[in-house]
């Protein structure tokens, strides 16, 4: 987004323009509120949350996880969510910037005292509100049947290796939300970079495929060809958002219930990988809007 600040100023105070511009946080909040309204006013949004809830409940029930308890439910849901969450994030994020650009609203906004980073922050946080709802509501609902018919649980998981616990499931929910927020940032970067809606759809699809399969395949190829050594494999999984998410869930919400066993991922590296993907994508979106 270009800005009239490019125009040289020789301002001289007169009777006009006594008002000061709002501060940065107020501007971010203003954009954020509009974004939340946009998400909530979409009739499809409630339907989306309902469909995801039905899918998640169906998967958990049919896989037997509900009967088994919270950790079995996590295991049942992990792989389907690796596909479902990216779809959700892209669906809510790929047009976030592109539609404003197509309507010419970004050019109008360029005449207001709002910067590219404030716009990106407001749009991202607003869309994140929708993503968090769409992820947490179904997962929290699935906890209800697990609590009613699930296996033996302990509310003091932290001191009991091998025990099932709703806290483990809540940890899974938090990690899934984190994964979704990172992918939303990626989708927003794509939305800010592309120049037409059709390109946005195509670019979002390509991004999805690369994130879901490409990076994992690249790591597998690197390992098979010897480029990635055995010792570095666990940390290299952090390069892929999908592997990073899977690794975090397995290490912090599943493997902790068993004694021993091989380490499946480096939680710190995986967390850093996800945060880098998210921050990098938002930086790219800000840069693209500032063009």
């Amino acid at each position: 987004m270009s800005n009239p600040e490019q125009i040289a100023r020789q301002g001289h105070a007169t009777d006009h323009g006594e008002r000061l511009p709002p501060d940065a946080l107020t501007l971010v909040r203003t954009v954020l509120v509009r974004e939340i309204k946009t998400v909530l006013l979409q009739p499809a949004f409630a339907a989306l949350v309902a469909v995801v809830t039905v899918i998640v409940l169906g998967l958990a029930w049919s896989g037997g996880g509900v009967i088994g308890g919270y950790v079995p439910t996590i295991v049942d849901l992990l792989t389907p969510l690796e596909v479902l969450v990216p779809l959700l994030a892209v669906a809510l994020g790929y047009r976030a910037v592109r539609n404003d650009e197509r309507r010419g609203e970004l050019e109008i906004l360029a005449t207001y005292p709002v910067t590219a980073w404030q716009l990106v922050a407001g749009i991202y946080l607003g869309r994140a509100f929708g993503v968090v709802l769409a992820v947490t509501v179904p997962l929290l609902i699935v906890m209800v049947p697990v609590a009613i018919v699930g296996g033996v649980t302990s509310l003091v998981y932290a001191t009991h290796s091998g025990a099932d616990s709703p806290w483990l499931f809540l940890r899974f929910v938090v990690l899934t939300v984190l994964f979704a927020l990172v992918l939303l940032a990626v989708a927003m970067a794509v939305s800010a970079l592309v120049s037409t809606t059709r390109t946005a759809v195509a670019a979002a699809t390509v991004t999805l495929v690369v994130l879901l399969f490409g990076l994992d395949l690249a790591i597998a190829y690197g390992f098979a060809s010897g480029f990635v050594g055995e010792s570095g494999l666990i940390r290299s999984l952090a390069i892929s958002p999908l592997s990073a998410y899977r690794g975090l869930v397995l290490e912090t919400a599943v493997a902790v219930t068993s004694v021993g066993g091989p380490q499946t991922a480096s939680p710190l590296a995986s967390l850093a990988g996800l945060l880098l993907w998210g921050a990098g994508s938002l930086a790219i979106a800000t840069r693209a809007l500032g063009r």
Partner: protein, 246 residues
Amino acid sequence: MTSEQSVVLEASDVVRSYGAVTVLEGLSLALRRGTVTALIGPNGSGKTTLIRTLVGLDEPTEGELTYCGPDAVRPIGYLPQQPSFRPGQRVRDTLAFYASLVGETEADAVAQLERVGLADAADREIDALSGGMTRLVGVAQATIGSPPVVILDEPASGLDPSMRVHIFDVIRALAADGAAVLVSSHDLALVERSADRVVLLDEGAIVRDGAPDALCAALGVGSLLEAFESSIAAEAGTVRVQGETG
């Protein structure tokens, strides 16, 4: 009106090129407070490029733009050629959003709607408005924050005669309130009636500049349309394409 102090936006020797094609060729223009400047010219003459450059959306390849108006939260208000707003929201909410970006309230936004005569549509959904009403919302948006410069790209395009007259009345009112208004239009009759000054652009250069009456008198013609026809390089019915037409 003609004092140096009344200039609020000045373009000096502005060149705008896209690769090998030069769309604006060393153009200078000063917009003055309290006046309506009409930008006219044939299709492809560079009107929209000049407007985008003045607004700050496109950087000039050469030359410079100087804003020398009063300090303002929003120095330049802008209406694009095809205004469009986020669907699913009421007119009131749409304008309130823009108003809040300059520290104004929803009441201020509604006041701008009243100024363009659209207060009754405040609670309508924005995507349920006609093209003319959407343009009026766009004009209201361009005036939010009371910018000292208001630039409107073909605000009356595609509208019925009464709506066109209404939009030009609003433009005159803006100038009466002290704004420097630049408006591009193909409606030469309304331009002749409403503008203090006419700038005729052809092939990226200003070929005529002055008050409508003065222009007509200088060329010995009876109307702005005749002045237009006698000033442009293209033959009737052809469009000169810069970089292509010899």
